[in-house]
Amino acid sequence: MVLFIIFFLTVSFVLGKSLGYGMSFAGVVLIISGLMSFASYYYSDRIVLSMSGARAATKAEFRDFYTIVENLSIASGLPMPKIYVINDPAPNAFATGRDPKHAAVAATTGILEKLSEAELEGVIGHELSHVKNYDTRLMGVVAILVGSIAILADVFFRSMWFHSDNDNKNSSGVFIVVGIVLAILAPIIATLIQLAISRRREFLADADGALLTRYPEGLASALEKIAADKNVLKKASTATAHFYIENPFKNTPKNASGQWFTNLFSTHPPTTERVKILRSM
């Protein structure tokens, strides 16, 4: 995260200098990006829930699910989040919300049917850890930074187009060249960093979830079951993919040589590695 911020500052400095603006350039762009992303962060629970077609789950209808969430909330000291169910045979679950008081946890009917109680506890423990670690807020900030870099690059290119060299008394040639290279690469690098952060937070949520349930094997076997399941989540989109416990796009073909490259662009770490780490606890 710190590296990301340094990266962001470097990019904005170079681009700003090459256009003849100062650091206020970065400030303005941050504000714009912040405003754009704020609504998405603030209402994250409602947005994600409606996008995934979730409905509120009642205690009467989903007693086991409700009890597990309630019990693990007691164990973690968090207020109990609102729970939702998605009608889909693909097993998956997610947690969202800007802070523990406004959190929501959703699970598909698939996961509720196919997992044993210990496995479901592992999954919910993982999701509650996301809430506890304020991961939605963190990814929201990261999204703002990524958006800012994209805007910076965009503004840079437009300015280049409309300015002639005589107008910029403060700019210098080196900065312009470096600026162009950065403007092209920065958005890609920013996205890669965002995905790397997402993967690390997944590992953290795995570990914290295991700490919560005191039973890492539950989550480990749950992940294996989910990975082996052939169903694909119907309403998943790239926007919401990183919230889910398992990458909903996992059924895209993998070839050995491309493995590292696919993983670079994945929001979740590979299941085999997650299971290995859990089983070594």
């Binding site: 009890t67 309630e70 019990n71 693990l72 007691i74 164990a75 973690s76 000291g77 005191r214």
Partner: protein, 183 residues
């Protein structure tokens, strides 16, 4: 740079560190108190389920007066209990009585089959889980707190301001023994 400014700056930083550390310890200690109340909340939940249980069992197994009496006694002991050790004793009585009730229920098929009884069984079992989790939460907080006050340099601040170690929740000797069910 003027050395006086440097020293003042350093002192300010140290003061800030002391201030935030003290507050941190206060928060951790209060969380432990909250966790204790949390356990009590779950224990009370269990106590509140008891009258219902007694009524249901009475309906089907009216000849088991001995068991029903022991549960009623345990409950009134709980209500009267004052000090923590009295409470712990009363809770133990309650747990023994409950175990016996569920054991004798095996001998009464109509009782076992009744929806009320099944519902109560599930509720009580769930409450036992909740009690366990709230104790786990308490232990986690005690762990955080104890570790923090023992680590250096926090240990100096802790002893200065009288932050003392808290006890983990452990099973009593009675609880660790094998469960004997008498018919």
């Amino acid at each position: 740079m003027n050395p006086t400014y440097l020293i003042i700056g350093l002192l300010v930083l140290i003061a800030l560190y002391l201030w935030s550390s003290y507050n941190n310890l206060v928060v951790l200690r209060e969380r432990i108190k909250e966790a204790i109340s949390g356990i009590d909340v779950q224990l009370k939940r269990r106590t509140d389920l008891i009258p219902n249980l007694i009524e249901t069992v009475k309906g089907y197994a009216k000849y088991e007066k001995g068991v029903l009496e022991s549960v009623t006694q345990a409950r009134s002991a709980l209500v009267k209990a004052g000090s923590p050790s009295e409470k712990a004793k009363a809770e133990n009585m309650m747990e023994e009585a409950l175990k016996t009730i569920f054991a004798i229920a095996e001998a009464y098929p109509t009782l076992k089959a009744s929806e009320n009884f099944k519902e109560l069984q599930e509720e009580l079992s769930d409450t036992e889980n909740k009690i366990a989790y709230s104790r786990q939460f308490y232990n986690s907080n005690v762990l955080d707190y104890n570790s923090k006050i023992k680590m250096f340099p926090m240990s100096i601040i802790a002893s200065q301001f009288k932050f003392t170690e808290e006890e983990f929740f452990t099973a009593t000797e009675e609880e660790k023994e094998e469960i004997k069910v008498k018919f």
